[in-house]
Amino acid sequence: MIRNIPLACVLILTLCLAFQSAPAESAVPNEKTLGVHPQETLNKYCVECHDAKVKKGGLDLDSKLNDWDSPTNLKLWEKVLPVVLDGSMPPAKKLQPSDTERKMLAKWLDSSLRENTSFGGTLARRLSKEEYRNTIRSLFDLPEYQIPLGFPDDSIRHGFDNTGEGLIMSPTLLAGYLKVANQVADELIPLKKKAEESSIRVLKPDDMVANYAAAAMYHNALRFASSGRQIMRSCSWPKQMTVTSSGIYKLTVRASSFLPRSRNLMPKEPMLLELRARDLAVGEREMIHRFRLLKTISVSSESPKDVSFEAELYEGETILVYWNNSPLRYGGGNNKDLGKQVRKRFEKDKRFLAAWQKVVLENSHDPKEGTLFNYGDLRGMSGWEQFKKAFQDENLDMSHATMDSVQTKKLIALFVSQGNVLGEAFAYDYYEKGPALDLHEIRVEGPLRSVDGPKDKEVKERQRLLFGGPNEVPSKEERITNLLGNLLPRLFRKPVESRTIEVYLKMATEHWSMGHSYESGLHLLIRSILISPRFLYRSLNDGPMDDYDLAARLSYFLTQAPPDKILVDLARRGRLSAARPSKSDPTKMEYWVLRREAKRLIPTSPSARLVQSFTSQWLGTKQLGSIMPDPVFNFTADDLDLAKREVEYFFTEMLKANHPMTDFIDPDFTFTTPAFAKKIYQVENDKTKAKKDSGNKFQKITLARDGRYGGLLGMSAVMTTTANGVDTQPVLRGVWVLENILGMPVPPPPDDIPALTPDTRAAKTPRELLAAHTKEKSCMSCHRKIDPLGFVLEHFDPVGRWRDKWPDSETIIDASATLQDGTKVTDVIELKRWMLINIDLFSRCLAVKLIIYATGREPSYIEVKEIEDLVKSNRENKHGFQDLFVDLILSETFRSK
């Protein structure tokens, strides 16, 4: 229930409405239209405190009404207008103007400000760090490109890292750009390596890796006993051999079979030894079949035989050796093959079975099948030794050594479930008695001839895309002129004059005249282009925005990347800013192409860069990574991640499905896992209870409207980021709501704050503590706006969970507050209801932030008025967030430089 809506609140609303419906006056209003000169009103009520001498609050209003050209003056009046409107000035104790006087003064100020502030004003700004990275990725076809660690971050102004004021250039930064430019040039035009001379490398068995008992040394050979699906446990490779030059190599493999026992165990076919190529960057858990097969060698002789073949090996690779068709197979997740093989062996030899029973079953601590297994002792050689001891024991218990006994069944099951361990021991049977495959030596000779490896091919393809194919035009100069004619407009994101092309052409030709290669010239061009202000800066222009700038602004806003081919083409044809009279109101122009393109590029996924970048800065979730909530809150790193995702999914849904703006405050949904919803929000949905194991599925969760949770206030990520992981801070949260939800930022604390030593001994709750500190009038003026909002949110602990009492006390939290307009609320639910009634405040706040982010500047007075009109009509026409979003893009504010 909302009580006590005071006169002032109604006054504000009527005045606001009055201003929005009044048409802009063509002539400057004067005393004739108002009845009394505004200067008189000021003199009567304001100048006593706010003149050049007394200058209360640093404000001098005496005779400042004449100069509307000075930007400082404009800012001054922009600050005065709201306090005239909301009645906070003159202070309650002083003489108050009549309603008419107040209204007239405010109206006069509003018209003058509209008249004298203009659209536009973004300062030329360099690409932000993220924009730079995406520009490189996009324009140079380097999708994996990352700016190296340690590159300076961008400064934040007006809450975002991409405003013109914040994107300054310093010597350190430019030096950083130069370094990065070199790296990009190296990536595009790698240094030609000298052709490596052919050499022979001999790999002996002890040069090969033999971990996880994939193979073991026996009589100077590397003996393979098993195979599997992953390269670990079934392959070997050289310990220290990496191919450094892609080329054709000759490999000679010397191998033999080890078959001392009867042939019953042998497969019918000869042993097949595979040689594969392994990129060392790929890990050991990868499946064999992922690696390129070089050759399959048939091994059937028991004395060593050499087999030679030629194969292509690429830079960064080494050789894998693998016995394809061994009778023993284990390793990886599923050891069913091992189960089959041990069964075959057990069927043929009772003592063999009995010995394994003893060794394995005695080490199982738990009667339950396959659990609690002390395998440390049974791994590899150690298990094998125990087996041999049991096998040779005269008193070995053979009573259960039948195929249908419980013990045998259990044993085989353990071989399947613990195959990685038991297989390693079991393999020794094959090492000692065969069948096994012996590798004696591998000889690698080469490179016999160079070839292009996959990376080389990628580089060449990219060069062809960027610089044109080889030998298409005879002369070097012509080639470069054509190249620059294509490349420069692309990289500079607009057409270039021939003068510019000539400068770069001269640079290249001078370089070649010194004897450097063609490629070096290209390398130099790239390095230089990337530190030109034409590359580093956006919107450097004389006059209004052209279509290229508009395309860049649209693209960098919605995708943080340079315009794609469609946009570039539209810009080239001058079609992007095409306008026609609107069907509904022929006096208004409709920018229908811009609308179409905006809708095409609007992000639809929570992982979209706009969603990530904007929400993390607007709502402060950027800091989430460095906040480690105290363990007492039971909020894990996974929870932090879920909280962040909730914000991103929520925002995306609001945009994609065009929800009304009120759903930002009081929606009927959110996005998280049922487990998180239960843990933090104490919300349980029936349908999630039904399916087991869906507790961790990230999904849309239904919420009841008009409740504690739902919407931006009370979202875990927001509550966590406005606390410090240990305790809540009402002032921080209050400031956050004012700045990011209500659009009423508070000025920083004044410079002359005295050192505070309040008496806080009696203060028991944070409310009382804060009150003790803010008793001073000059503190109160801001804190009476900040603190109440913080207290309303005190029910949310530092991770967003509801609590009824203050921590470490039995006092119930008092979340009541009196808002700026006098409304009294008792908790967050009532606060939300108040916000719904005043939803334009929030919409305006978000719209202004979007404009700052999109245009890189704070909107001027007249621009804010345009935004307010859009917000109002959005609500009146019952439109949604996507509609507002697109309207902002079509606004004059967005389209002005």
Binding site: L123, A124, R125, L149, G150, D153, D154, S155, I156, G159, G164, I168, M169, S170, P171, T172, L173, L174, A175, L178, N182, L191, R499, T500, V503, Y504, K506, M507, E510, H511, H516, L524, R527, S528, S532, P533, R534, Y537, S539, L540, N541, D542, G543, K622, Q623, S626, I627, M628, D630, N724, G725, V726, D727, P749, P750, D751, I753, P754, A755, L756
Partner: protein, 420 residues
């Protein structure tokens, strides 16, 4: 969370340095009195004065709690009390540490770097530990400002600092080629840029001035690098701990600070950077010290409101930070320069802050300590704020470093008569 890593401690004190060029000239260089390096270490939240300032003045004072960890070096440092910049009170006071009275003014470290650092590999290095990356606000967490009042970015990753100091460019020829060709191409880039500047709006032109100023500076550096490309670059067998990522989150400040100190000591030893600053930030940090997690964050503790248990925990943090500082001083005493003198003798170390009493956001009476540099140490010097400003101490430090200066911010007296 472990706070001190013994293995890393040992690794750093035993790290050897290879310096072929310097060694051979040892006999020819006359030892000069002028210190070679200036290091400024700033604490964001200041120091708890009651346990920082000794009760007695002069030598033979009783060591207060926070000074305990560095007690064995008492003859190598001087504590100053009573000095400040007369700067405004409030949160942003800590930035004034090196700037003086006004936020964002030409900072002490940059003044020194501009005078003595132009021939070095790195005229100055700005480092920070703790705090949040990309802190907002108008100053954004920066403490060093150029003459043009541009805030300088700070390095927070030990691995980046390491790679700047020690990774040698194996292909010197290639490096030289890149430098020379890069420099000559700058003329062309500038030519085109100047043409651009003539054809843009007035507001844009002003923005582009930042670019031109920066590129002139880059040009100068390229010239220096070309001149020094064949100089020996330092090698070391010190290795950063192998955890795979830098400890840059705010609560990992206690892990990051020792690494930064290690690297600074190595930089001093290799004469890589004549001026360095290290900011001990603390925003957002919640620490575990000696395996006991503190209940409240560093920031909250700094607002102790005179509650004893808060002060006790605050002191735990400040003593821990002093332990790192102690290790740094020990390092500088054990490492010797080419003439066999401890590095500390030729390094001026300023430990200070811009925040006098964080609990009240008051910025008067800033706890300050100076170590090394060949000064006559061992005392607690208590000065009358009506007579002296902190800037006076800074003038003395500048003079010691060979910078001719007789004013700094609002100070023009210097302490040259008191502190030599």
């Amino acid at each position: 969370m472990k706070t001190t890593n013994r293995r890393r401690f040992l690794a750093s004190t035993m790290a050897t340095i290879g310096l072929p060029a310097l060694e051979t000239f040892a006999g020819n260089i006359k030892p000069t009195a002028k210190p070679k390096t200036f290091v400024a270490i700033g604490s964001f939240f200041g120091w708890y004065r009651k346990e920082f300032y000794p009760k007695e003045v002069g030598k033979n004072y009783t060591i207060p709690k926070i000074i305990m960890p560095i007690a064995k070096h008492r003859d190598d440092f001087t504590i100053f009390s009573g000095l400040d910049h007369r700067a405004k009170n409030g949160h942003f006071g800590w930035v004034n540490f090196l700037c003086g009275k006004n936020l964002g003014d030409y900072s002490l470290d940059q003044r020194i770097a501009d005078q003595v650092g132009q021939k070095s590999r790195f005229p100055s290095l700005q480092l920070a530990v703790g705090g949040v990356e990309n802190e907002g606000g108008s100053i954004g967490g920066k403490t060093s400002f150029t003459k043009q009042k541009i805030p300088l970015p700070m390095m927070r990753r030990p691995s980046v600092l390491y790679s700047q100091l020690f990774v040698s460019e194996s292909d010197k020829e290639r490096a030289e080629y890149i430098l020379r060709s890069g420099k000559s191409s700058l003329d062309y880039v500038l030519d085109d840029a100047k043409h651009l500047q003539r054809n843009v709006s007035k507001a844009d032109r002003i923005k582009l001035d930042e670019y031109f100023h920066s590129i002139r500076s880059v040009e100068k550096r390229l010239n220096q690098k070309i001149a020094s490309v064949h100089d020996a670059i330092a090698q070391t067998d010190y290795r950063l701990p192998d955890s795979g990522s830098d400890p840059i989150s705010s609560s990992m400040m206690m892990e990051a600070a020792p690494l930064m100190y290690d690297l600074m000591a190595l930089a001093i030893q290799t004469e890589s950077a004549p001026v360095m600053s290290l900011m001990l930030n603390g925003l957002g940090a919640v620490f575990t010290i000696d395996d006991v997690p503190l209940k409240v964050g560093y920031h909250s503790l700094s607002h102790h409101g005179n509650k004893p248990e808060m002060i006790r925990d605050l002191l735990k943090i400040e003593c821990e930070l002093m332990k790192h500082f102690n290790h740094f001083l020990t390092d500088l005493k054990e490492k010797k320069d080419a003439q066999g003198n401890p590095l500390l003798d030729s390094t001026v170390v300023l430990l200070g802050t811009g925040m006098g009493d964080a609990s009240r956001h008051a910025n008067d009476n800033l706890p300050t300590l100076v170590a090394g540099g060949g000064f006559d140490h061992g005392s607690h010097v208590s000065l009358d704020p009506n007579e002296y400003l902190l800037g006076d101490l800074y003038i003395t430090l500048m003079n010691k470093m060979g910078v001719k200066a007789n004013s700094f911010s609002n100070a023009s007296r210097s302490l040259n008569e008191i502190f030599v």
